[in-house]
Symmetry: C2
DNA sequence: ATTAAATTTAGAGTTAACTCTAAATATATA
DNA sequence: TATATATTTAGAGTTAACTCTAAATTTAAT
C-alpha cells in the first residue's frame, strides 16, 4: 500500500538521490516515515510528485515549487495565490510551446537544406536554390519581425 | 554593415558576457575582429547565433552545439552527420512538444480545481466533485498507461 | 541465520552555463 | 578635446540542481 524510495524513484524516472534531495529541500513534506525511519510513498504522494515534475518540466525552479507546496500546507487562505500561480505557469507554458514551434520551423529548414546538400554532395549548390534562400530569409533573418 | 558585441547581444536578447563566453567556448569561430581587436558581427553571424539559440532552446548542450559548428568548419565531408544531427534534434523536439502538451493538461486541471475551490472558499468541496475526481484519476494517476 | 540489497544521514563534490571583476584600450558624444 | 561609454582579456565567482560517499541500519532473499 506504499512504495519504497527506490520504487517511487523508478515509477517517476528519477534516482533515489534526487528524491532525497527534493525531500531535503522541503518539496516532500507529505512523505511519511515507517517506524524504523524509512520513507513510505503513498499513491497520493506519487500524485504530488507528478505535480512537481509538471512544474519542473515547465521551467519552474525548485524554490518556487517549494513556495507552492508551502501554500498548500497553509490551507484554504492561499487558494487564490495557487490559482494565480497555475495561471501564470500556463501563460509561460503557452509561450514555451510557441517558441518550440518556431524552433521546429528552423530545424525543418535545416533538414531540407542538408537533405539537398547530401544529394549533391556539397552545400554550394544548395545556396543557389531560390526556394531555400527565400525560406532562409523568412526564417532566420534577425531583421524580420519577431 | 556590422554589429558591435553590444548591438548583437541586444538583438539576440543575450548579454555581452554570454556572447564572449560562447566565443571562448568555440561557438563563434566565424566572428571577425576589427583592426583594433573589437568583435564585428555580420548579418550572417547573426544567423549563426539564431541557429545556436535554436539548438540551445531545444535542449542541446553548448558542447554538442560546438560539435555541430566544428562539423560546419570541416566542410562537405560532414554533411550527412549534420543532417542526422538535425533529424535527431527534431525527434527530441517533437517529444518535448508532446510532453509540454501533457503538462498543459495537468495545469488546466489545476486551474479548474482551484477556480472551483476559490468559488467555495475551500478545497474540501472540490474533492467531492465527481467530474474533477475522474479527471484527476485520468490525468495524475501514476498507475495509468503513460 | 546468513548474506545481499536497499535505505538512512550529513556533508562533500560535480557540472553546465553563465556572471562578474579589473585594468587596459577603443569608440562615440558634447 | 574632454569625457563618457563600450570593449578587450584572463581569470575568479556564482547558481541550480543534482550526484556521490561513507558508515550505520533495515529489509529481503536464501
Amino acid at each position: 500500500m506504499g512504495y519504497s524510495i527506490g520504487q517511487a524513484a523508478k515509477k517517476m524516472g528519477l534516482t533515489t538521490h534526487t528524491l532525497r534531495y527534493y525531500d531535503k529541500e522541503g518539496l516532500l513534506p507529505f512523505v511519511k516515515k515507517s517506524g524504523s525511519g524509512l520513507r513510505v510513498f503513498s499513491d497520493e504522494d506519487m500524485e504530488w510528485l507528478v505535480v512537481i515534475e509538471c512544474l519542473k518540466g515547465t521551467g519552474m525552479s525548485l524554490k518556487n515549487i517549494k513556495q507552492y507546496i508551502d501554500w498548500c500546507l497553509e490551507g484554504d487562505a492561499t487558494i487564490d495565490k495557487r490559482l494565480e500561480m497555475f495561471k501564470r505557469q500556463k501563460n509561460k507554458l503557452e509561450e514555451q510551446m510557441a517558441e518550440l514551434q518556431k524552433y521546429l520551423e528552423k530545424i525543418n529548414y535545416k533538414i531540407a537544406y542538408y537533405t539537398e546538400a547530401s544529394k549533391s554532395g556539397s552545400v554550394d549548390a544548395v545556396k543557389r536554390n531560390a526556394y531555400l534562400a527565400a525560406e532562409k530569409k523568412r526564417i532566420f533573418d534577425i531583421n524580420n519581425a519577431a
